[in-house]
Symmetry: C2
């Protein structure tokens, strides 16, 4: 039965684990297959055609594993590849941008919102388009933050230089009354404590993981795709390079339970 199959989740690397953690909390009964395309990370500095090609291969891999739904747990891949993949695939697929925008709008009173993201995500303007679709009146400013992914992967979650780099990026913001800072990259929640120190206290820090999980639960329920059997659920981890489990950020998210199997796409 389709509903008993696992949910596939992929990311350019391991930032998507922050989304997987929320999915697991919200859908504890489900099985998951996670794929981190670490052999080709980061996507965030690459062009649309290259990212589409890579995302297509990740989706194919998950389909071969028999998933019932695919979550793109990567902002860059969502921005560049979600729409074409929706047309090509014969299972449901969702990304992180639409739920992230919904969460940001619901947390904001001033409707002045700052989005931090990779250079590619910013260049795609996917966030700007989604904000104007959901709320014509919102004022949104994007900030490209290319150093945050390497900082998170280095495990420098709460270093002084991390705060300085965050300050440096946020200096550019010109919205006087922004009250939401949307972390538009699945790595960024790892830097949340540092980010909290450098933004004004009125500003809510929002990441998409929680709303991604809530909205997926709702859509699976509507489509009668929630798993019914009560046997113990599990996560299977795959990565395109053997270095994945050695990165400091992995153990901070899933401890030592995450055994990655290496695959060549």
């Amino acid at each position: 039965m389709l509903s008993e199959r696992p949910i596939g989740v992929f990311d350019s690397g391991l930032g998507g684990l922050t989304v997987l953690r929320e999915l697991q909390k919200e859908l504890p009964n489900e099985d998951f297959i996670y794929l981190g395309d670490v052999a080709r990370l980061p996507y965030g500095s690459k062009s649309q055609s290259v990212v589409r090609k890579y995302a297509g291969r990740c989706a194919e891999f998950l389909l071969d594993k028999g998933v019932k739904w695919i979550v793109i747990a990567c902002n860059t891949a969502t921005a560049m590849a979600l729409e074409p993949l929706k047309l090509e695939l014969n299972v449901g697929i969702s990304g992180v941008i639409e739920p992230g925008v919904r969460a940001a709008l619901s947390a904001s009173s001033s409707k002045q919102i700052v989005v931090m993201a990779t250079r590619s995500t910013v260049g795609s303007e996917a966030y700007l388009k989604e904000f104007s679709k959901q709320s014509a009146g919102a004022r949104v400013e994007q900030v490209a933050c290319p150093l945050l992914v390497p900082l998170a992967e280095e495990g420098w979650f709460e270093q002084k230089v991390t705060e300085e780099i965050l300050c440096r990026y946020l200096e550019e913001v010109s919205l006087p009354e922004y009250d939401v800072c949307l972390m538009g990259c699945t790595h960024y929640p790892l830097l949340e404590k540092s980010l909290r120190k450098v933004v004004p206290s009125r500003v809510h820090l929002v990441h998409s993981g929680f709303s991604v999980a809530q909205e997926l639960k709702s859509v699976l329920s509507t489509q009668k795709l929630l798993k019914q059997e009560r046997r113990k659920s599990g996560i299977k981890f795959y990565a395109t390079d053997e270095i994945a489990p050695k990165l400091p950020m992995v153990s901070s998210l899933f401890g030592n339970q995450s055994q990655f199997e290496v695959v060549d796409l």
Copy 2:
């Protein structure tokens, strides 16, 4: 005639342009083909098997272009792929580690040398092996510096945070009298001014580009492979993604003369 053919140079990205610049100075009569594998950068965080595969494809591409010699202008790819490629290819190939070690030893009086490099290069121990081959008595300490490549690509060559990150990495050094700091990644010369500010004034900063160029000139001369014709020489730039020429570091090295052709490997 073989000698009239171009010299091929490849790197995981654009750091190799620092080597190309030295090659062009030392061998102004030669033609060059540069390939930056930006679609799969960085190599420095990936495993040996993945880097070997990528380097093999770069070498094949250059062979198809009819090069007479290949220079691997990337420390990680030299560390992980030079030896197997030497056995597989039917043209000469050289890397950046052996000449870099020679330059470092010749600049050092104390024979206490620090090597800054990517995590993969450090893990490969290629520098340690080459130093002990060339000088049994040298004391060498490696420091993995994963954030320096993204900093160079961001164009933050002389920022305060760049100095702080360099300090942070060099804090770990325990050799009391090191007098050479070898920049074991072809991106690092772009950060030389910041590095100069944070290391003691007695320390020589050495990068491999100059000795790579000198040694290549000498080997091409011995093998009668130096170009004889006096027509104007040129460089052809290729990259595996269209983002290459947009990175701030490109214009700082080759101005706007560098038009990249995008290829899919």
